[in-house]
Symmetry: C2
Subunit: 555 residues, 2 copies
């Protein structure tokens, strides 16, 4: 009615403009979708617009490092105020773009080694944090209110049409590309090599706009590798308690393990201790988990029936190829991982999440946040929360639900087992149990809407320390819960303030269980129980198929 007609394809039009600018800028340096690596900065200058939401593939392991570096070389007077979307901030370049005024806003999941510098940049005002997410949540927002305009991703190889082969580290790539390509965005892939035919297609060429061969292969972090030589006897004891007091107690068949020595110890005593308890085929059959090297002996012993993975792990390639009955692999023999689908599996199809933390408060809230560091969450909030949409039952899930609701009139419901495993004192004699999480102070420092809690006390079912297991499912009041936590907090100030009578009562009721209550002989808790005591043992257990990265080898 006189008003100008609304245009409904501005994104498609804008995409055409960007592709046109790239063609003009690159000329013969662009052959089909293939861009010569020296011209990468020109491509980015041509394609990017101020304020763009840019998804840079920084995964847990695989890094689009060449493209990350190229971003830092942009002219901030031409490209600025980028809104970066990233699973993981791992490389210095991921923050350099903020320092240089090229990017100004960030939504992410995990920052790991960059956590300290990230906090400084955030306080300085150079970097505005949108939010910190769990991985699947960030992927979800890619399809709702954080759809990327341009994505910069990494793959192992491409053919000349642009079909991508990611090899074992498929990780986040399919989710990122799907959100971008099907909303008229631009997808740029760095690859290690360009070949005539890719070993298999992980991402179809239709979904990819530009491919550039990076001068050096993309960086991959062996994040899940733990040297068995560093596992302590305390960790062996805790692993024994986990297996006897939780895995066996609930018949846990499907599960996810967090990163760290605590859970590596569990993996390494499955073929020894768990086997001696007759648990093979009864627990730990199905895993949503990266291919942890520490899992090799349990796989070889026939404990592990299947493993689906978020990403791969450096050095495990040949071993995985030789164990296709266990792992998900493609026709080329290498693993297919997929972080989005594995997180869905971890949330909905696993009976248990067990992982370590840094701090636990009197309500059972746990956090890895420490002052001056914004480290993010990764996958833990998704794995370590009750899957309230779950409807299929298993023995473990039903039993946890019954324990939680024993005194209640509520509709019966199952519950996920969420176990936090922690020694009462961590490095430098810092108590792991505290009255107040550092997260509160960090939230104030960094102006967050809520304290950055990794796993909420409401979702935690068990806390396991060297002193014993506190079963929070069985606690009926906030006071019982507090005393159950104090009762396994050892000689920390929180532990020392326990009410001895209440704690003994909780122990009588099986809410707190000490090693002796579980029939565990502490003298048996030695490193001899570890099915592999060194990296070399892991290699041997794998029949020579596992090839640890150099930093883990002293031979």
């Amino acid at each position: 009615m006189g008003a100008p007609e609304k245009i409904w394809n501005t994104q498609q039009g804008n995409r055409t403009e960007r592709l046109g600018r790239a063609g003009t800028a690159l000329g013969p340096a662009l052959a089909g979708k293939i861009v010569s690596s020296e011209r990468i900065v020109d491509l980015l200058h041509a394609v990017l617009e101020n304020g763009d939401r840019v998804c840079l593939e920084g995964n847990n392991q695989k890094q689009a490092d060449f493209l990350a570096k190229a971003l830092t070389r942009l002219d901030p007077s031409r490209v600025h105020d980028l809104h970066m979307l990233q699973s993981v901030l791992a490389l210095p370049e991921h923050l350099d773009v903020f320092d240089k005024g090229i990017a100004s806003r960030l939504d992410f999941s995990f920052s790991g080694p960059q956590a300290g510098r990230l906090a400084k940049l955030a306080m300085s005002g150079k970097l505005n944090i949108g939010a910190i997410h769990t991985y699947l949540e960030l992927f979800g927002r890619y399809f709702v209110d954080l759809t990327p305009r341009v994505s910069l991703i990494a793959a192992e190889a491409a053919d000349r049409q642009g079909n991508l082969y990611t090899g074992p580290n498929t990780e986040d790539t399919p989710a990122i590309v799907e959100a971008t390509a099907f909303k008229s965005g631009i997808v740029i892939a760095q690859v290690n090599r360009i070949v005539d035919t890719v070993p298999r297609v992980d991402v179809p060429a239709d979904w990819v706009d530009f491919v550039v061969q990076a001068p050096t292969p993309n960086y991959i972090e062996p994040l899940f590798t733990r040297d068995p030589a560093q596992i302590s006897e305390i960790q062996v004891l805790m692993a024994m308690m986990a297996i006897k007091g939780i895995y066996a107690e609930y018949s846990v068949e499907s599960l996810n393990h967090g990163i760290g020595f605590d859970t590596a110890a569990i993996e390494l005593i499955l073929p020894t201790y768990a086997e001696s308890l007759g648990l093979k085929g009864k627990i730990a059959r199905h895993w949503a988990l990266n291919p942890h090297p520490a899992l090799i002996p349990a796989i070889e012993a026939g404990f592990v029936e299947s493993v689906h993975s978020f990403g791969s792990e450096l050095g495990m390639e040949d071993y995985i190829r030789a164990r296709p009955d266990v792992f998900f692999v493609g026709p080329d023999g290498s693993m297919r991982s997929n972080r989005a689908l594995c997180q869905a599996a971890g949330h909905y199809a696993c009976d248990m999440f067990i992982g370590s933390t840094l701090q636990i408060d009197l309500y059972g809230n746990s956090s890895t946040a420490t002052l001056g560091r914004i480290s993010g969450f990764g996958g833990a909030p998704n794995m370590g929360s009750d899957a309230r949409g779950r409807r299929h039952s298993s023995a473990a899930w039903l039993k946890a639900g019954r324990q939680a609701q024993a005194d209640s009139n509520r509709m019966p419901r199952g519950q996920k087992l969420v176990v936090q495993m922690v020694e009462t004192f961590r490095e430098h004699m810092q108590p792991a149990f505290v009255e107040t999480l550092d997260a509160w102070q960090l939230a104030e420092q960094a102006n967050m809407a809520l304290p950055p809690v990794m796993i909420y006390g409401d979702d935690v079912t068990h806390i396991l320390t060297e002193e014993g297991i506190a079963n929070l499912l069985l606690c009926r009041t906030a006071e019982e819960r507090e005393q159950a936590i104090r009762g396994v907090a050892g000689y920390t100030p929180v532990g020392l303030q326990r009410d001895r009578r209440t704690v003994e009562n909780l122990r009588d009721r099986g809410i707190i269980r000490r090693p002796e209550d579980l029939g565990i002989d502490k003298r048996q808790a030695t490193r001899d129980l570890l099915a592999a005591k060194t990296m070399k043992d892991l290699v041997r257990a794998s029949g020579g198929l596992y090839e640890p990265p150099k930093r883990f080898r002293n031979w």
Copy 2:
């Protein structure tokens, strides 16, 4: 040492055997991956083994109907005890395989029109139900303990290499195929046509083993289409309460709507009522939702900024193609849907789920289970549960969390809005509010571990009826909660047994809000508020781009 060496690639070996048998059986009827349709039964006889886990693509909308029919033609003396995995049981053939003794076990999500017959087969012992799932949970299990050995899927077209084009109904296909193809399973696709070049690649040929052109195009159910002519003035009133009392109250920006006339009414008064309240750009901006025709007027009015979909909707193809700024579309112009990713988005990136139900009990548990019917859950448990792994904040999520925790010492946490919308009496004057859900009796009948609850009272934040809104977040005791529910239950027996004084007190405290408390003039609640009153109006609003299926047209 002396024991026979364990074989680790039995699945790959078995896959090779199956492919070999297919080659032998089909001979020249197999050209590359292309199978002639008359030989489909031979292919299935060759490829299937007794006890196989078989995923048959029965989606919410798209049906692999040719392959479903072929399955029923198998010889049960050759192939039996199949374990069927299916999102949706929609067609009679889906149950015929059990009747005929070809399949014996079933894991699924939703059964819709087959719910009655499914219950009968389950009671007769011919069909053993593993579990009933929400969609994302079932997909998750495909990667953990329910990996398909053979998948039978549907696509729009294939090229001669086997690359698949699904068109707008991509739906479950990528998740199913990924789980099967990367665990040495067999993927068989029925397609409507075989072409030289597919308009875009939705599933790479590498992931597909056999392609068969079905004699007729696969069936698609227009599940989300509601004729505005059938919307009542009560529904308009309820929609007004939803918008003023919930959407505006919490500033709900991202959301999912269930199926039905109740939520269609909301969609249709966004451009009229919500617009008059000045809410454009403030509410309902981002959607995880199929392309509901009832959403057309709100899209045209500029209310809706983005829509990501689980699947498409028949008749909406041209409209979607013309509105790519709103929908996710491929370079070919047609929608790319993805049920797994959209469910992740709905769970983690949406502030609210609002949907209808059949029965609500005094705790707020709701269920669509009725006696003699095993109808399943679909996506509701996933959308309609608090996403406890969510960590990013929004105004709506923070406010809901604050209301839930106002009197508590707990760690602050946001909460998803989960709204159940229901008229106090449903068809045949059945009360929607009951003391005890039929689900209890059904669980006993069908020997389920737990009553089949669609959405648990713990997760419901608001119940909306024609009498008003009960805000369960603000209830501090089980008694308050019960009275809040009774207080909106109208003239049902549950409603009549309210304690009048308590209910008035709850109303004073804003826990119950009547239309007049919200400043809603009931006289304004007429069909005149609907931006489209008929199917023809929807077509007109779409500029003639929406083409309703025949059954919805009387012109």
